[in-house]
Symmetry: C2
Subunit: 153 residues, 2 copies
Amino acid sequence: MTAEAVFDQMLEVTLLLQTDMTRSLSALGLTGMKTHLLWEVHQNGPCPQQRLAQALGVSPRHVTGLVDALGCDGFARRLPHPHDRRAVLVELTDKGTATMTQMQEQRSRDAAALVADLDARRVEQLRQGLDAVLTRLRELVADADSGDAGGVR
Amino acid sequence: MTAEAVFDQMLEVTLLLQTDMTRSLSALGLTGMKTHLLWEVHQNGPCPQQRLAQALGVSPRHVTGLVDALGCDGFARRLPHPHDRRAVLVELTDKGTATMTQMQEQRSRDAAALVADLDARRVEQLRQGLDAVLTRLRELVADADSGDAGGVR
DNA sequence: TATTGTTATACTCTATAACTATA
DNA sequence: TATAGTTATAGAGTATAACAATA
């Protein structure tokens, strides 16, 4: 059935995208989590670790380790929080900022390369198809979520 | 640009599919790797660990651990190899076979649910669009591969 | 001598709990 | 008393290297 073909394709996309991302990040000495953290700080500016832990959905302890490692590799550093002496702010170094900027540019190039074989009408059809699938997929995941957490409902 | 919208959608598909898969597998006491191993054996029948290591792209040592864990949880077991006393064959238990069969059925249901909002023509358009994107994506990944491994060439 | 699998060891990612300093 | 972050500890997942049994 065609539905299964589409599902298989999406699984392959998932596999390839993940493989490629893991590999290109590890060439920079980064992991998905470290990159996610860097991305948050790049988007929102200097940020206390507590908030990063919530944004990334990991433990505060884990953020300590992440920031330690990113500090070691020169991507980020800790600043004293101006009003709360318990907290620290994490900010990007020049290297961290440059890395995030390059990543954005690379993403644009990859996006263009991916649909290079399709004319504009086809790309738009693809976008609409993926939109419908994503709507359903979000529902499926949310259902499983509440089923896990909420029990009977 | 629309190309970037499509790219973002594919990233979201990747994220959702992976989140959902990790969660539903862990409810069964499985990981992606263990499931992949089970899948190989389910498809190809009893199999020496060496071949599994190559199929999964992991170290032989890792397969030992995987098979130990799967044996512990009753999904698979080791058999003596009939012709080579160095080797063992890994085969599925009834529980392992039943689990793989259920997974296939669930996959069919999920595939149908995902495109439920689209008529057959739209699904076919989506399939063709994804096909073009996948062709490019495979190239991108393969290029990065040879760039990593093969050097200048 | 080459191959299959295992024992020994280590590194990364991630979590929980106890503790310190500050609010 | 509550909050931010760190120290201590632990458990997956994965790798390499050395070793045993067999080919």
